[in-house]
């Protein structure tokens, strides 16, 4: 039989096996030496192949690649050593078996066996399905919509005795929630939250609480996982990463620690509603924690899916990447509609408010120009430019927030006058101060970075139970997972913008969750000065990266909801009429009609 070249296994000592930014994948690569016409075709079929100066093509050895190479050898028969051919076959069957077993689960087969635990509360089908998919194939990224009970979904993996002991890595504010849910779902399992950054033996240090036994589930916050990586590697059979987007930066210590634990575990699960916070390349970082092979090495991923622009990896076709990840059963996503737990939709209402340009000029006089010039000139060290970027961002965003603050406060007053309880999101303390002063008569409640945990809890309580306290000011990045606000409010106002659309979604999710019976209204108050136009530009790009990966069917255009288009105008009319009824005359100015977009 005619052959078209030679396929061989190639181990390179230069390839680093430890988790690092550049090399996450197995040390082994396939090497292909072939006729030029075949090389040309192969490059098209495998966009990730690397062409090196020895004129051979190289590609990382993963089960999926083996499966495709096997197909390639049928199209163009290649010479192969017997051992390489056997290995290729075995590796390809690994792929087929994994795919088939997860397909059976997705088709409705439920896993069970001797010694499996029965959860103390009934799970929903879709929750068991995701857990079983993890148990059948070893890893899965679950990107279910907010509020579908991801914690319980994760815990269901622990039904299998082979999955214990387990480690849950989560943000600090969710540690207790995991313990609570564990106690509710599997009261027979013991959990423990690690209390120190350096590893210790929980059975010994917490002998009284744990009865001298090691915990079945160890909850480790991301802030402590770096120190625990070595200790837990090999000890944990399952590792669950909650809000896995925390691991979007591969160069961090917490990433390396997490990778150590994950690499040695049998079952790896990632949970998040917002896998991509900024740019599409983050999906490679987080997925490589769960399966270092599936998307190839970072270089292969970039060659196949994206482009690198100053360290930011953009995905050229995020929709295709999302479809690929679903098809390969790497990722699963269910929306509320999919599981028939719909809530009334969120109406997003961008509204342009005035801003005092003088405030921006005043606040940024002198220093910002110097910072901007340093960044643009490329002068100074890399670190200096990095620090300058941070400073410039902070100064300009703060100045923009301040310039809008009085107008934002007036707008919020308008909402509150029409009988609404409002959650106002911001970021800078100085901006909070302006709001506090201008809205003093409304006695706003604060839930920001400045309040202690106890005061935050009191703030939540006051907002929920006191009908007179109608304004809660929250930090854009505090209170993730906070529950209860949805019972009293359906109005979120963004007085300042975050850099990530995912963060806005998290904020809206504090009102748009189970228990909310109306449409959540999310007002984005923006201006045409300072940092807002640039932040909005970035938000558009990031949304274009994140959403199609998560939802390959995401619409290219979402039309404003016609019934809500005039909401701001109607709101103004309502307030004016009320004032007229009371015999007062007020002048209310509302900007041009703004659009509303359903989510």
């Amino acid at each position: 039989m005619r052959t078209y070249g030679r396929l061989s296994r190639h181990s390179s000592s230069a390839v680093d096996t430890a988790p690092s930014r550049t090399r996450l994948s197995a040390a082994d690569r396939w090497r292909l030496d072939a006729d030029p016409n075949v090389v040309m075709r192969v490059k098209r079929i495998f966009p990730r192949v690397a062409s090196e100066r020895d004129r051979a093509l190289y590609i990382g050895d993963t089960p999926e690649v083996a499966f495709e190479l096997l197909w390639l050898t049928k199209r163009w028969p290649l010479e192969m050593a017997a051992s390489a051919a056997a290995y290729l076959e075995a590796r390809a069957s690994e792929y087929v078996e994994a795919r088939d077993s997860v397909d059976r689960v997705l088709a409705g087969e439920r896993l069970t066996g001797d010694g499996w635990l029965e959860p103390a509360r009934a799970p929903r089908d879709y929750q068991v399905l995701a857990a079983d998919a993890v148990l059948s194939v070893g890893r899965l990224l679950v990107v279910d919509e907010l509020g579908l009970g991801k914690t319980f979904t994760g815990l269901l993996v622990l039904r299998s005795p082979a999955a214990l002991p387990a480690v849950v890595v989560c943000p600090t504010h969710l540690q207790r929630q995991w313990m609570r849910e564990l106690a509710l779902s599997f009261p027979m399992l013991r959990g423990h939250i690690v209390t120190r950054t350096a590893p210790y033996d929980p059975a010994e240090v917490y002998a009284r609480e744990l009865g001298g036994r090691n915990p079945d589930v160890l909850v480790v916050p991301y802030s402590k996982i770096a120190g625990w990586g070595h200790h837990l590697a090999g000890a944990a059979r399952t590792v669950i990463f909650d809000e896995i987007q925390e691991l979007r930066r591969p160069q961090t210590q917490k990433y390396i620690g997490s990778a150590m634990v994950a690499d040695a575990a049998d079952y790896r699960m990632g949970l998040t509603a917002t896998p991509v916070y900024n740019y599409g390349g983050e999906i490679h970082s987080i997925f490589s924690i769960l399966d270092k092979d599936a998307l190839g090495t970072r270089e292969e991923f970039i060659a196949e899916w994206g482009r690198n622009d100053n360290g930011r990896v953009y995905v050229s076709n995020p929709r295709a990447l999302g479809a690929h990840m679903r098809q390969e059963r790497l990722m699963i996503r269910r929306t509320r509609a999919d599981v028939r737990r719909e809530l009334p939709e969120v109406l997003r209402i961008p509204h342009t408010v005035a801003a005092d340009e003088h405030v921006i000029d005043q606040q940024t006089a002198g220093t910002t120009l110097a910072l901007a010039e340093l960044i643009l000139s490329g002068g100074g060290t890399r670190e200096e430019r990095f620090v300058a970027s941070g400073d410039l961002d902070a100064q300009l965003r703060r100045a923009t927030g301040l310039a809008k603050a009085p107008y934002v406060a007036d707008f919020v007053r308008l909402l509150i006058e029409s009988d609404e309880k409002v959650v106002l999101f911001g970021w800078h303390r100085d901006v909070y101060d302006v709001w506090r002063e201008r809205l003093a008569d409304l006695a706003p409640i604060f839930y920001t970075g400045s309040e202690s945990q106890a005061r935050k809890e009191a703030a939540r309580e006051a907002f929920i139970s006191d009908p007179e306290r109608r304004l809660l000011v929250m930090s854009l990045r505090s209170g993730a997972g906070l529950d209860g606000l949805q019972e009293v409010s359906k109005v979120a106002v963004f007085g300042e913008l975050d850099w990530s659309p995912a963060q806005h979604d998290q904020c809206i999710g504090r009102l748009h969750r189970d228990g909310q019976d109306g449409n959540v209204l999310a007002y984005f108050l923006t201006c045409n000065h300072g940092s807002d136009p640039v932040v909005m530009e970035t938000l558009g790009i990031k949304r274009g990266q994140a959403e199609p990966i998560r939802d390959p069917d995401a619409a290219l255009f979402e039309q404003a909801a016609p019934d809500a288009r005039d909401r701001i105008r109607r709101l103004a009319e309502h307030v004016r009429d009320r004032h007229r009824d009371r015999g007062k005359t007020v002048t209310i100015t509302v900007g041009r009609r703004d659009e509303v977009v359903p989510r």
Partner: protein
């Protein structure tokens, strides 16, 4: 003074239309399209005007027959023809059709014959009710309803969309673009989405239209050009737009951009050149 008893007014096209709205709509086969397009609470008669204004002769004929059958004696076709006459036929026909030609200043009779369009006869005196409805700045405009949308849909239903869609103004185009969120990961995707949205609004959209030897504009709606950008230094973009503005084929030019930096490009009019509008897609990420 002797009192004069008021005679009941003779039925007009509009009063009849109001009374027999459903019949008319069914007759024209448009009721669904029109109802969807009309904002709640608008005057029902407006949709009739919109159909008439849609300019499709067969629609006009239907309405005319229907009104005659109902006992009215008003020649709707004449109203429509009057409308055309009153608006300088050439300009109007040019705007409401997708037919564009370099030599606009040709003999209207000849040009219309070539495109199988009928030259309108002079209609009744101005100042009629229908005239009020259809005059720019008239009731339709005051109510700010999406005329182009209704016309587009009506024409779509009749399968004559390409010939009878009216070209929108730049501001109308921008309003359509502002009314929602776009999702794109590259320029081609954004262009495709914009083309889809504008087509959906009933506009005749052409893509990749050549303006000169080296220039090709992304989208063209009537004589309004739309250039789409997701990247690029503003100076380079400005230079490119200035070249486009020298083209004879445009009345106005809209830059639809994802970049805040492009807001530095000087928009507005510049002697004789097409007016430039710069619109940043600020809401797409919110």
């Amino acid at each position: 003074m002797p009192s004069v008893e008021q005679q009941p007014a003779a039925p007009t096209a509009l009063t009849l239309a109001r009374e027999h709205l459903d019949d008319l709509a069914a007759m024209c086969g448009q009721i669904d399209a029109i109802r969807v397009a009309m904002p709640a609470g608008s005057d029902d008669a407006l949709w009739l005007a919109a159909i008439v204004d849609g300019g499709a002769p067969d629609v006009v004929e239907h309405i005319e027959q229907q009104i005659t059958a109902l006992g009215g004696d008003v020649d709707v076709g004449a109203w429509w023809r009057h409308y055309c006459a009153g608006y300088q036929q050439m300009t109007l026909m040019r705007q409401r059709t997708a037919i564009r030609e370099p030599a606009w200043k040709r003999d209207p009779v000849e040009w219309m014959a070539e495109h199988q369009l009928q030259m309108p006869a002079p209609g009744p005196a101005p100042g009629s009710a229908l005239d009020q409805l259809l005059t720019p700045g008239g009731i339709l405009d005051e109510l700010d309803i999406c005329r182009h949308d209704i016309r587009g849909r009506a024409a779509d239903r009749l399968g004559i969309a390409d010939r009878y869609r009216r070209a929108p103004t730049p501001q109308e185009i921008i309003d359509v673009i502002r009314a929602g969120r776009f999702l794109w990961s590259n320029e081609a995707e954004l262009q495709a989405a914009l083309a889809e949205v504008l087509t959906g609004a009933g506009y005749p959209v052409e893509r990749e239209v050549r303006l000169g030897d080296r220039d090709r504009i992304d989208l063209l709606v009537g004589r309004v050009g739309i250039e789409v950008k997701v990247a690029g230094w503003w100076r380079d973009v400005e230079r490119q737009l200035n070249r486009y503005r020298e083209s004879d084929g445009l009345d106005a030019l809209i830059l639809v951009t994802a970049r805040a930096q492009h807001l530095r490009i000087a928009a507005g009019t510049r002697d004789g050149a097409p007016t430039l509008y710069v619109h940043q897609l600020q809401r797409s990420g919110l």
